[in-house]
């Protein structure tokens, strides 16, 4: 019975598309943002991204943008660290600041009833942070503590070794958190300079969702961001790819090995991007029915979870995956992954797999827009990826258009068993 129902609904599932009313708002001062207005709940979610992030810094200052970002909420204007936190909490606003490889991000949520005060407070953190020496030193100790933890975290060890092998002398080759040596040597002047380099109007992307009108948002943008410097530091160039096929083992005392693997990927604006995206979902999606989950977990019980991802950074495009497996099973798991990598090229995928994956991708897309916070975050990501404002209405058609022919072509083009590199952190047996 269920199969009959399933088949019937499947036939209806095809015309799915997502349509949300996204407006582009330009402030009187010329800053643009995307907005989804929704007055159901009296608060607004605001997302801001400054392109560049930790890749803007010099090698000897590695970690400075991360330290700067983590210190933004530690005092601003007339307020010290405690004063700022008390003011924020008294408004029940929430601000979070994050330094990534390609951008510095700011996520804010604030109530309609005290929106102006919340924005004034956030403005001070962004425009006039104090970077008091004691705050810089205290946050530095937290960063150093994280760095020491990372030295014993198998997942971090795996991804950092992978990056170091892949990216040569590009900033991507090392952690944006810096090293114990570089972070220890950073001065307050370095932090101030990093602020000017990273938080500038020439690289800002903004989106908002919730209880705010276009006019209100326009005025808010100028107040919040208008006093930031017009330009910041130059962006880095594209990263090289130096990683040959193979296996790198990093000895680590653990009953389980953590595996990070990958190869070159495909640019976001490549005509084959959507076929590649769909194909990756067939092979390495996080769903229980994806091939690797099925082969490595469901059939063989070798892991708790495995997934692969098409990763598009500003200066590198990759196809990456990860999993963990007990030391006595990890060699077998790697062999299964390699075989699946080859099988997708030699055998392709079945029409059923393609159809089921397309209905999953198209059907789940609207489910992502489930609240003001997620909507603002998706909207800012679309802008950074250079998507047009009507992208949400055309995206599912691009998935639908992927054919078996496309999959075959892209499988041969993208999935390179002979290029796949595995970094294994643990004490794997037989490797």
């Amino acid at each position: 019975m269920i199969r009959a129902v399933f088949a019937a609904v499947l036939a209806l599932a095809l015309p799915v598309h997502a349509e949300i009313p996204i407006k582009e708002v330009t402030s009187p001062g010329g800053i643009t943002a995307w907005l989804v207005e929704d007055h159901n709940i009296p608060f607004t979610a605001l997302e801001i991204q400054f392109r560049g992030g930790t890749s803007l810094e010099a090698p000897e200052k590695r970690g400075v943008i991360n330290l700067m970002t983590a210190t933004l909420e530690e005092g601003a204007g007339e307020m010290d660290s405690r004063g700022f936190a008390e003011a924020r909490d008294a408004l029940a606003a929430s601000f979070s600041f994050d330094a990534g490889s390609d951008s510095v991000g700011v996520s804010a949520k604030f109530l309609t009833e005290n929106r102006d005060q919340a924005i004034d407070l956030l403005r001070q953190a962004l425009v006039s942070p104090r970077f008091d020496q004691d705050a810089v030193d205290r946050v530095r100790e937290q960063v150093l503590s994280n760095l020491r933890s990372n030295e014993k975290d198998p997942g971090t060890l795996a991804s950092e070794r992978f990056d170091r092998l892949a990216f040569g002398d590009h900033p991507y080759a090392s952690s944006g958190d810096g090293t114990i040596e570089t972070v220890s040597a950073l001065t307050r002047d370095d932090v101030v300079a990093a602020h000017d380099a990273a938080l500038a109007r020439d690289r800002v992307f903004v989106a908002a969702a919730g209880d705010i009108t276009a006019e209100e948002l326009g005025l808010l943008l100028d107040r919040l961001l208008g006093d930031l410097p017009a330009t910041g530091a130059p962006q880095p160039g594209d990263a090289p790819w130096l990683l040959p096929a193979g296996v790198t083992v990093v000895d680590f005392p653990s009953p389980q090995s953590t595996v990070f693997f990958g190869q070159l990927g495909i640019p976001r604006d490549d005509p084959d991007f959507f076929p590649a995206f769909v194909l990756n979902e067939v092979i390495g999606g996080g769903r229980f029915t994806a091939r690797l989950m099925s082969e490595v977990r469901e059939k063989r019980g070798l892991t708790y979870g495995i997934g692969t991802y098409i990763v598009n950074m500003d200066h590198a495009d990759m196809l990456l995956g990860q999993f963990s497996a007990s030391n006595d099973k990890v060699a077998e798991a790697i062999k299964v992954v390699q075989e699946e990598w080859g099988r997708v090229v030699s055998e392709g995928v079945t029409p059923e797999e393609l159809e089921a994956t397309k209905t999953y991708l198209t059907g789940s897309y609207p489910l992502r827009f489930d609240g003001n916070g997620p909507i603002a975050s998706i909207l800012v990501g679309m802008q950074m990826d250079g998507m047009p404002i009507d992208y949400v209405t055309t995206r599912n058609a691009k998935i639908e258009a992927v054919t078996m022919e496309d999959i075959k072509r892209v499988a041969a083009r993208i999935f390179k068993r002979e290029a796949l590199h595995f970094v294994v952190v643990g004490q794997p047996e037989g490797m």
């Binding site: 997502a18 009953p255 029915t289 789940s364």
Partner: protein
């Protein structure tokens, strides 16, 4: 029909649902005992179905630790109608996601999917309430998956191992001291019969709460629930959940776990604490506020001010309390010392700050800020219908009433300084506490961490 289907998937976020002051929640029960909660949110054409069974790891037979979580995994293996391992595939092919989680007090399954597919996922969920099919091979493979899960989430994390050992020491008699995922040696021995007998006894409409949240109306849900769940017979194996209770705790417990994978040592203190009870959440509300005051904020909390600002004793401090449980809860404090500060010094400083707090009490302004955040939290919470669904499902599963669940924010806002201090004096008693140190091995001493030792996860996801 296709047009209706397409239209219903359009996200019309700016469309007209009048802002309700509170989330519109309604409830009803079927004749077979199934409780149903409907939470309406018409902002997007999405629905969440959650079924919460009132059985969890603390209801397991002694010696079979992990069976609740093991069964949770096996529930995806199929029925007569749904082929082997096809459950998730059918949901995914409809654009939905599904998963499950197990705690000491409940086991829950959920799907998130377009609202017009509720009929399908309800049929499937009702089907596997009684018609699970398991082969020996399913069971053997899934046991390996769970052992990998344990290796990944527990055995590879010294901090998780410490927590597991501390819980075992905290609960002298109550099964809350046994990890949800199970002790490794007991997981290894779990079999198909264990799983099926547990399933047949506990998976029944009179032992479950169905929560449907999203773009639905109570009438639609009632009709669908009657159609799919209405004919399922109740189990006669459901009895009151009387677990062994804690005796008076008279002796402080201390333990230390040394592991070469530790980079940042810390001290963790766990006190036995009261939980939320039906009709009486006052102590739990006060403890929730106490945790926020002591360690809820990296800039303003009592521990952060004393140990990270006024002195450079610590790089990180925090306090934890969650009273949403059937039996006793725990109240936790952690101090990660600054470089060069030994754990005994860090622990002494923690106790000094607590003694000082017990003498002087909280800053009234801090209490007022927490009240403001509680009120705002009600507004922010309405942005996630899934969070609301969890709140109701979890509360009802541990025996709270709708009045308790809906009155929780009010209970928090009503907490006074006196309430906080009374709760603090009652709970911050070292005789009912476990103090754990996570350390690096002494140089020249063999690594003492037992790789086969096990760990507790509060929620073990499928």
């Amino acid at each position: 029909m296709p047009a209706r289907c397409g239209a219903s998937l359009v996200l019309a976020l700016a469309l007209t649902v009048p802002a309700a002051a509170e989330e519109p929640v309604s409830t009803f029960a079927l004749d077979n005992g199934l409780n149903v909660v409907v939470i309406e949110d018409h902002r997007a054409p999405v629905v969440v179905q959650m079924i919460w069974y009132r059985v969890g790891a603390a209801d397991e037979p002694a010696g079979d630790s992990g069976i609740a979580h093991f069964l949770e995994h096996l529930m995806f293996k199929g029925t007569e109608k749904v082929g082997p391992n096809q459950f998730s595939g059918i949901v995914e092919a409809q654009g939905g996601d599904d998963n499950a989680f197990t705690s000491w007090d409940y086991t829950a399954y959920f799907q998130r999917i377009a609202a017009d597919r509720l009929d399908l996922v309800m049929e499937m969920e009702a089907d596997r309430m009684r018609n699970l099919r398991l082969t020996e091979e399913d069971v053997a493979t899934e046991r390996q998956v769970i052992l990998e899960e344990r290796a990944q989430r527990t055995d590879s994390e010294p901090g998780s191992l410490l927590m597991e050992q501390m819980r075992a020491a905290q609960f002298l008699n109550h099964p809350y001291g046994v990890p949800v995922i199970g002790w490794r040696h007991e997981i290894e021995a779990l079999n198909r019969d264990d799983a099926l007998s547990y399933y047949e006894r506990f998976y029944a409409p009179n032992n479950a709460t169905l929560v449907i949240a999203g773009d639905v109306t109570p009438d639609e849900v009632r009709a669908l629930a009657e159609k799919h769940y209405g004919a399922i017979k109740p189990s006669d194996g459901i009895v009151g959940r009387k677990r062994p209770q804690e005796p008076p705790q008279l002796a402080e417990r201390r333990l230390s776990l040394a592991d070469e994978r530790v980079s940042e040592p810390y001290v963790y203190r766990s006190y036995l604490a009261p939980e939320r009870d039906p009709g009486n959440q006052r102590d739990a509300a006060a403890l929730t506020v106490l945790a926020e005051l002591l360690g809820g904020n990296g800039q303003t909390s009592v521990l952060a001010r004393a140990l990270q600002f006024d002195t450079q004793t610590a790089v990180y401090t925090a306090a934890f309390y969650d009273g949403t449980s059937i039996d006793d809860a725990t109240f936790g404090l952690v101090v990660m010392p600054a470089p060069g500060v030994a754990l005994d010094k860090a622990e002494a400083e923690l106790d000094r700050v607590l003694a000082d707090f017990l003498e002087k009490g909280p800053d009234p302004a801090a209490l007022e800020r927490i009240r403001t955040q509680v009120r705002a939290g009600e507004i922010y919470a309405r942005d996630s219908v899934e969070t609301l669904a969890r709140r109701y499902g979890e509360g009802l599963s541990i025996g709270l009433t709708l009045t308790d669940i809906e009155g929780w924010d009010e209970a928090l806002a009503a907490v006074t300084e006196d309430d906080v201090m009374a709760a603090a004096r009652k709970v911050l008693d070292r005789k009912a506490a476990v103090t754990g140190w996570l350390t690096q091995p002494e140089p020249g001493v063999e690594d003492s961490a037992d790789m086969d030792a096990s760990v507790a996860t509060e929620e073990a996801q499928q």
